[in-house]
Assembly symmetry: C2
Homo-oligomer: 190 residues x 2
DNA sequence: AGTTGACTAGTCAAATTTGAGCAGTCGTGT
DNA sequence: ACACGACTGCTCAAATTTGACTAGTCAACT
């Protein structure tokens, strides 16, 4: 499905021509980390590939002060078409992304009850921290905030709440979980 | 983090020596699709790499009837250590995986209200279908089902419920969402 | 006998991501 | 002056994933 391409095309369509680092920066600013983690490597490789496919095109190179030169890309007509197609694909796709913690849990039978409880407590604390961050952010808007942005934040908040609920359930069942194999395996390397 | 490696090491540690296709098959049987999508390409490349690193080792090659030969791998002592490390890593990591639908939604301002409502209705139907599947499955157990397996299914069920709640919220705000840009863009290529 | 369809066990090229790094610049202190 | 850390704009190798494909076997029909 490739979210990186969707992100690049969408950003160029909205804001107009941009260069690589600008995309990366805006991704941080606009809470983009919620829907897509844009790493530099992926970003630039997507830019090169999109340009090679003619979906975006280098418009000019700029130079601000003595900083490294940067290439400004704009979206092409074909890129707009691809953007609509990718967006439709993303909207149609309903997939619960697998969570590695489930995999880990299924393999933790021989972990001691205390060790597992420690992990779970840590996870709950981390989730609560994230939740309260969102609650603070929800109050004050950022520039150019749209209804869609609100909904994205709300989505994250609701998912955190669901995670918290599940974690509490796991804590509830902890005794049963480790009842079978209760060997000593308190701490792992890593 | 690499869930595929964790899956392979964990499965070999639990069930004992196995060959590639067996891992792939068991992944289907044990609801593994919930936590990890094991595609053949990823699976075999993980096997080769784990073997090269000495975390698993080819024990023998079998041949059942005239079917293709298959290589049986077993986990090594070092592999067991790596398994514990990977599991601890997965248990520590708390990350809300970004959902592409958020990205798509943030770029759907110029989509018509009806088009967006159509997508959302479809998504809700798909989610409800998945939910009722889980509800049926929850009643009858599968062989070797553990408490952890129950919890994994429950996890998926709770996440679906959260998704449903959010989707209804989006439908609620739909008028506001498309209020700004309401051009005609009813259907996209796809 | 021949065909169909599903399963077995795995390969491969191409796309993509990861994670680190590079060569420079800027701002801030000291 | 100059050291320091953070930022800018981007590159690169290595790891990994994707998705289609190979080359055969088996059971069941027709």
């Amino acid at each position: 499905m490739n979210p990186t391409r969707l992100f690049v095309l969408g950003a160029l369509a909205r804001h107009g021509p941009m260069y690589g680092h600008q995309l990366r920066r805006d991704a941080r600013i606009d809470r983009t980390e919620l829907w897509s983690e844009v790493r530099p490597g992926s970003l630039y490789s997507a830019l090169h590939r999109l340009a090679a496919e003619g979906l975006i095109e280098p418009l000019r190179t700029e130079q601000a002060g003595q900083l490294p030169a940067r290439t400004v890309y704009g979206i092409t007509a074909e890129g707009e078409r691809e953007l609509r197609a990718l967006r439709a694909e993303a909207l149609r796709e309903v997939r619960l992304q697998p969570d590695p913690v489930d995999l880990a849990l299924a393999m933790s039978a021989e972990l001691s009850e205390e060790a597992l409880r420690g992990y779970l407590d840590d996870r709950i604390r981390a989730l609560q921290a994230q939740a309260s961050q969102f609650d603070h952010q929800r109050e004050r808007a950022w520039p150019d905030q749209t209804v869609a942005d609100d909904l994205v934040v709300e989505h994250a908040r609701m998912r955190i709440e669901a995670e918290l609920g599940w974690h509490r359930l796991v804590l509830d069942q902890l005794a049963k979980l480790t009842a079978a194999g209760s060997a000593a395996d308190g701490q792992a390397a890593g």
